[in-house]
């Protein structure tokens, strides 16, 4: 029964996404803009001794992936946000489905979408001359890291979508939080180049650990740092999942029309 529910809901997300072709096209192309225009130009201004490589585009690829996952996490929570406001969430909740199906279907869908987008980013990077040091197996692990980060950020965005009174608040908070989340990570600058307080914040930012794992795989190949960073990411994803489930349970247990 449970797979039937998750599949049916995923079908809804897939059909709606495929019918919004322009939305899909621009979302998929967005990260390429960062790689080509941002990383391409910044590379000339960055000291290779600070970033540890002369190939800034390769350095920035994990950052662009992480930033894309942040943006998609916000998008991922939108159906929940709007179902809540249109009343369709109530219709869904009056059906004999597991509450978790609503959340899990979104994770499944978003993980697949993000994996596809990461492959596009890696292809664009490939065209710009980036060859991941860890090879094809490394790409698979990059997809795993993306999946974990998707889980963490989607859970956080869903928790927020449950907690806010309306979509205006949701977009105000996510719009405000996205950039500090990105800049207080190692997405485009190594931790060592940051002021001490910022480095301290960046170390507890889940983005940093996802980026660290991916960056090792792209720039240096396999090392012990990869499982260590992925371990922290698993922990962060678990914590945010607990938070998300708690918020969702609160949202669905007591609701005033």
């Amino acid at each position: 029964m449970w797979p039937q529910e998750v599949l049916a809901l995923s079908r809804r997300w897939l059909l709606v996404t495929l019918r919004e072709r322009l939305n899909l096209l621009f979302s998929v192309l967005q990260p390429a803009v960062w790689l080509v225009f941002f990383a391409g130009a910044m590379g000339g201004a960055v000291d290779s001794r600070v970033v540890g490589t002369g190939d800034y585009i390769a350095f920035a690829v994990p950052g662009v992936i992480a930033f894309t996952v942040v943006g998609n996490g916000v998008t991922a929570a939108m159906p929940l946000l709007f179902d809540k406001e249109t009343g369709y969430l109530d219709k869904l909740l009056s059906m004999p489905i597991r509450r978790s199906s609503l959340i899990v279907s979104r994770f499944v869908f978003q993980t697949v979408m993000n994996a596809a987008q990461v492959l596009v980013i890696l292809l664009v990077a490939l065209a710009l001359g980036v060859r991941p040091a860890s090879g094809a197996a490394g790409v698979l692990v990059i997809l795993v890291a993306t999946g974990l980060l998707t889980l963490a950020l989607t859970a956080a965005a869903m928790a927020l979508a449950c907690a806010v009174p309306s979509h205006g608040t949701f977009f105000a908070i996510t719009g405000f939080a996205s950039l500090p989340l990105l800049f207080m990570s190692n997405a485009f600058v190594p931790l060592s180049a940051m002021p001490g307080w910022m480095e301290a914040v960046a170390r507890v930012n889940p983005l940093t650990h996802a980026i660290e794992a991916m960056r090792l795989l792209v720039l240096h190949g396999w090392s012990g740092g990869v499982p260590a960073s992925l371990g922290v990411l698993v922990l962060a994803a678990s914590l945010l999942l607990v938070l998300g489930s708690w918020q969702f349970a609160r949202q669905t247990a007591e609701r005033i029309a």
């Binding site: 039937q4 529910e5 049916a8 059909l15 709007f82 009343g87 219709k91 009056s94 247990a253 005033i256």
Partner: protein, 250 residues
């Protein structure tokens, strides 16, 4: 046959304000039962409690023989809930057929029966010819009929209709009424919340008028009119609930 809905001393308050205040309801199997009341009287709150969307503050409610709190899952399997005012924005980009197929799966209709059951339900509400158009192209009446079809996919024992003809043209209202009569004829119990007295008069076997969360009158439409010696249910309603305008609080 026993009772499909049995509610006793049902209460629910929001922020100290009682929305439903000690309501008893008994709806027999196969009945079309009307739930009437001015705006803010507690109709939707009552329905939400019966549809397992809102836990009662106190009192008990059993739907299809199951407690709405302790056996919510069993209740959900047996009811079809056609809500008031759900914006179709979330499925504008689906066709009517796709929306119905997705909901059939969510009601656990066996995979092999989904297509047939959806075709049957869409045909019943006269949407077969429009099944593959996007919902955003549907008129208000078509959207309402689609909602009705989606409430029937799992062949519920109890169909809950909250203002099913709100904002519909005369043709669409008559179509919805025909469907309700057909379903009732086939043995489905219907709980109908409405502000239209003509609708209640035409469709309901029995009805209850509530105000301030309490029952103020009840019976068959004919008995309610006879009791006061009036000819219209509007008059019955106004005598029992007064003429003062209400603020919608819930």
């Amino acid at each position: 046959m026993g009772h499909i809905i049995e509610a006793a001393a049902l209460r629910r308050a929001f922020g100290g304000h009682p929305a439903v205040d000690g309501l008893d309801l008994e709806v027999a199997a196969g009945e079309v039962f009307g739930l009437l009341g001015p705006n803010g009287a507690g109709k939707t709150t009552t329905i939400r409690m019966l549809a397992t969307l809102l836990p009662p503050g106190s009192g008990t409610a059993r739907v299809c023989g199951f407690d709405v709190v302790r056996a919510a899952g069993e209740v959900r399997r047996r009811i079809g809930y056609v809500m008031q005012n759900v914006s179709p924005m979330g499925y504008y980009l689906l066709t009517g057929r796709e929306k119905a197929e997705i909901e059939a799966s969510l009601y656990h209709v066996p995979r092999r029966q989904v297509k047939a059951r959806v075709a049957e339900a869409l045909d019943l509400v006269g949407l077969a010819a429009h099944a593959d158009r996007l919902v955003q192209e549907y008129s208000g009446g078509m959207q309402k009929r689609l909602d009705l079809a989606c409430g029937l996919l799992h062949r519920p024992e109890l169909l809950i209709l909250d203002e099913p003809t709100l904002g519909l043209d005369v043709q669409s209202r008559h179509r919805v009424w025909d469907h309700v009569r057909d379903l009732s004829g086939e043995g489905t119990t219907v709980l109908l919340a409405t502000n239209y007295m003509d609708e209640a008069d035409r469709l309901c076997d029995r009805l209850t008028i509530i105000d301030h969360g309490r029952r103020v009158a009840g019976g068959t439409p004919a008995a309610l009119k006879d009791e006061l010696g009036v000819t219209s249910l509007d008059e019955v309603f106004l005598r029992h609930t007064g003429r003062a305008l209400r603020e919608e609080t819930v």
